[in-house]
């Protein structure tokens, strides 16, 4: 069945090319122009994914996320302006799945949409894989073993937990706050230095070149993203 996308965006030109791109990918879609209408349509039509512009004429786009999250976990991908990290973090912390900064190439947007749909499908079937592979890394959560190029790598309990959380949200940005909350607990959400040091250690253990990470990617000012589908050019 074709996925159904709700597009909440007030700018006609942006809607125009998004319409073309979505149609070309065989998505079904419905357009809403305001926050009010967006929330109503999300409830009425139960889309598979919401594509949300944060700058809406009637209300802050963040309120749409808050509204939808009260009753649904449907994936929400946010369109935001460049340089507004605060908005991105707020959107993600409110429960948005991902964001794309304007101006963006359509290819990038479609990739984010696909990743979000995949995640939600995986959650729906509750079939979290116990063995995950990315690049040189193979993570077996049942056996709690991590191997890099076939060799067992020792991770500390916190590193392991961090990797687990990143894999759970694979493909999407996880804010520093969310990571700290899920790994260290809600009382540690301000200690982002902790997190950075652990991510750096994890990169040293898992990445070929920790200064040019293929998988454990940084979203400056926002958080981290574990990219599973990046294949090494030389492998």
């Amino acid at each position: 069945m074709k996925p159904f996308v709700l597009l909440i965006e007030d700018d006609p030109q942006i809607r125009r090319f998004l319409r073309a791109a979505l149609a070309a990918e065989d998505y079904q879609f419905h357009e809403a122009f305001t926050a009010e209408e967006g929330i109503a349509q999300a409830a009425a039509r139960q889309p598979d994914l919401v594509l949300l512009d944060l700058g809406l004429p009637d209300r802050d786009g963040l309120e749409v996320i808050r509204g939808i999250r009260q009753w649904s976990q449907m994936p929400i991908v946010v369109l935001s302006a460049r340089g507004q990290e605060k908005d991105k973090i707020a959107a993600l912390d409110l429960g948005a799945d991902d964001y794309v900064a304007k101006p963006f190439a359509v290819g990038e947007l479609l990739a984010r949409i696909r990743a979000a749909l995949r995640r939600s499908a995986r959650l729906a079937t509750d079939g979290a894989d116990t063995v995950i592979r990315f690049g040189d890394v193979q993570a077996d959560f049942e056996k709690r073993s991590i191997t890099v190029r076939g060799e067992e790598v020792h991770l500390t309990p916190n590193e392991f937990k961090l990797l687990q959380v990143l894999i759970k949200h694979a493909g999407r940005v996880v804010t520093q706050r969310q990571l700290l909350n899920e790994v260290w607990g809600p009382q540690h959400t301000e200690q982002s230095q902790y997190l950075r040091v652990y991510v750096a250690q994890l990169r040293r253990k898992l990445e070929r070149d920790p200064a040019r990470p293929r998988h454990l990617q940084t979203e400056p000012g926002v958080g981290y993203r574990l990219s599973l589908d990046h294949t090494d050019a030389d492998s």
């Binding site: 101006p103 982002s192 950075r196 200064a211 940084t218 400056p220 000012g221």
Partner: protein, 523 residues
């Protein structure tokens, strides 16, 4: 009073200094006179003992010498009245103990009267001369300490570039010199403000605001020890510059509650005058700097307008042209040409987007954007920048060398990332496609250094500084840009109190070197 003060400064009048020293002498005389008189009596007594011991061996006239020595001793130690008293006492003691008949003031031979007269005259001359020398020495010391205090003041004031700092430094030096709490009040819109003062402690009650204001308005001292408002807690001295009043200096009694002496008052006037001139100088320097900045701002605005209009219009023209060609003649064009036009639309749009982003960044940085600093591994910032630049760096060998043990840097990760992106963009623009680019980080005890090196044509000799100016474009041909990238880099690095410089690379190419202080102090 203030007028005479100015005169005194200009000619540095020795008469005034002498007067001050004299005042000091009288003052100390009245306070410690009993002690000095006692010393005089003891010394004369001592001279008498020696004279008595020598009496069997020497003629009486020679014994007078012992007393004269005593007078010299008194004169070098005690004040004038004490040494005059010692002179008379010596003559009397000489008569009483050394001139027969002993132990009476009677004189057996009249020629002794000549001895007495001579002795008295010599003793008085000695005491007069010696106390003059003493006064001169005291004056020299006084002058020296005053000169030192004023020198210290002027040295401290000369380094200050802000009015408030100048006032603060002056108050500090004055506190040291006078050993009493000093506060300087600066005016706000023509009124003395108790908010703009150098001391945070409310040592002076706001009730005295009126006095400070009056001193400011009239330019005359008032307060404790003065004619006007003697009941006040502090003494208020106007800070009168060459052109106008610049503030009021308030001095409280010292820690032991003692009031200022007259010569200290005199020094205080000199202090006030120098401070006022320094504040006035700082004000006019600041005014000049403001004017210069305004000129630069205006110049910047006009060059911004011309650069922006050109840089915005060019890509817009290409986009409009390509799009309209596709629309009107799309069917007649070959597929390859259509592809080319589409490519140019998307490239030019991206260029426009970068330009607008740069302009926004620059504006934000210039309006004093707040840094959101935290401790980051440099490796992470480098990695994120490389990731963002991946499309533009495709086909190049890019190496990033970041030592594992590099200390965390206290930076705004987004902004420092922008610096790296701009430098990488630059390197990609100004070096041949496919050539290598290196990023290397090293640590020194005080700073972390980050270099971006390329193998391009580099930049012309003498351009090292100009490269970082706004809207400056390198002399290389065939590359387009608004000339903002490096200016943004410099603004960001400077906001982090670091440095950025461009260097020539041996064998061709450019090196951009950033140094960020580890402790947050400027490099």
């Amino acid at each position: 009073m203030a007028d005479t003060t100015e005169l005194q400064i200009r000619d540095g009048s020795p008469a005034d200094l002498a007067e001050a020293a004299e005042l000091k002498a009288t003052r100390s005389g009245s306070r410690a006179s009993w002690r000095e008189f006692a010393a005089a009596v003891i010394i004369v007594g001592f001279a008498t003992l020696i004279a008595l011991a020598l009496r069997p061996y020497l003629a009486a006239t020679n014994l007078a010498m012992v007393y004269l020595l005593g007078v010299v001793a008194v004169a070098t130690r005690c004040n004038r009245p004490a040494s005059v008293m010692a002179s008379f006492l010596s003559v009397a003691a000489f008569d009483f103990f050394c001139v027969p008949p002993y132990l009476t003031l009677q004189v057996s031979e009249y020629e002794y009267l000549i001895t007495f007269a001579g002795m008295l005259v010599v003793a008085l001359v000695i005491s007069a001369q010696t106390s003059r020398i003493r006064a001169q020495a005291a004056r020299a010391v006084e002058r020296e300490s005053r000169t030192q205090a004023l020198y210290r003041l002027s040295r401290r004031l000369s380094t200050k570039t802000r009015v408030f700092d100048t006032a603060l430094a002056a108050a500090e030096v004055a506190e040291e010199v006078f050993g009493a709490p000093v506060t300087i009040f600066l005016p706000e819109e023509g009124r003395i403000s108790f908010r703009k003062r150098t001391s945070d402690q409310l040592l002076i009650s706001t009730a005295e605001e009126k006095i400070a204001q009056q001193v400011f308005d009239r330019g005359r001292k008032a307060g404790k020890g003065m004619e006007n408002f003697p009941e006040a807690a502090a003494t208020y001295v106007p800070l009168k510059g060459a052109g106008r009043m610049v503030g009021v200096l308030a001095i409280l009694p010292g820690t032991h509650g003692q009031a200022l002496h007259d010569d200290q008052h005199h020094l205080l006037d000199l202090f006030a005058n120098q401070t006022a001139l320094a504040i006035e100088r700082t004000q006019s320097q600041n005014a000049a700097a403001d004017a210069r900045m305004q000129m630069e701002t205006e110049e910047m605005r006009s060059s911004l307008l011309s650069a922006v209009s050109h840089d915005l219009r060019t890509p817009l023209a290409s986009i409009t042209g390509a799009a309209s060609t596709l629309r009107s003649q799309g069917e007649k064009l070959e597929l390859a040409v259509r592809e080319e036009l589409l490519e140019s639309i998307s490239e030019e749009a991206l260029r426009l987007s970068r330009l607008v982003g740069n302009l926004l960044d620059m504006t934000r940085l210039e309006s004093g954007m707040e840094l959101r600093r935290d401790l980051y591994p440099l490796e992470e910032i480098v990695g994120a920048a490389l990731q963002r630049m991946e499309p533009q760096l495709a086909g190049r060998e890019v190496t990033a060398t970041v030592p594992e043990d590099l200390p965390l840097v206290n930076v705004d990760d987004v902004l420092l990332g922008q610096v790296l992106v701009n430098l990488l963009e630059n390197a990609a623009k100004y070096s041949p496609p496919g050539s290598a680019i290196e990023i290397a980080a090293t640590a020194t005890p005080a700073a972390v250094q980050l270099e971006v090196r390329d193998h391009g044509r580099g930049f012309a000799e003498g351009e090292e500084k100009r490269l970082f100016e706004k809207f400056y474009r390198g002399k290389s041909e065939g590359v387009r840009g608004a000339g903002l990238g490096l200016a943004i880099c410099r603004a960001i690095v400077m906001a982090h109190r670091g440095t950025i410089e461009a260097l020539h690379r041996d064998g061709g190419g450019a090196i951009f070197r950033i140094r960020l202080p580890l402790d947050g102090r400027p490099l």
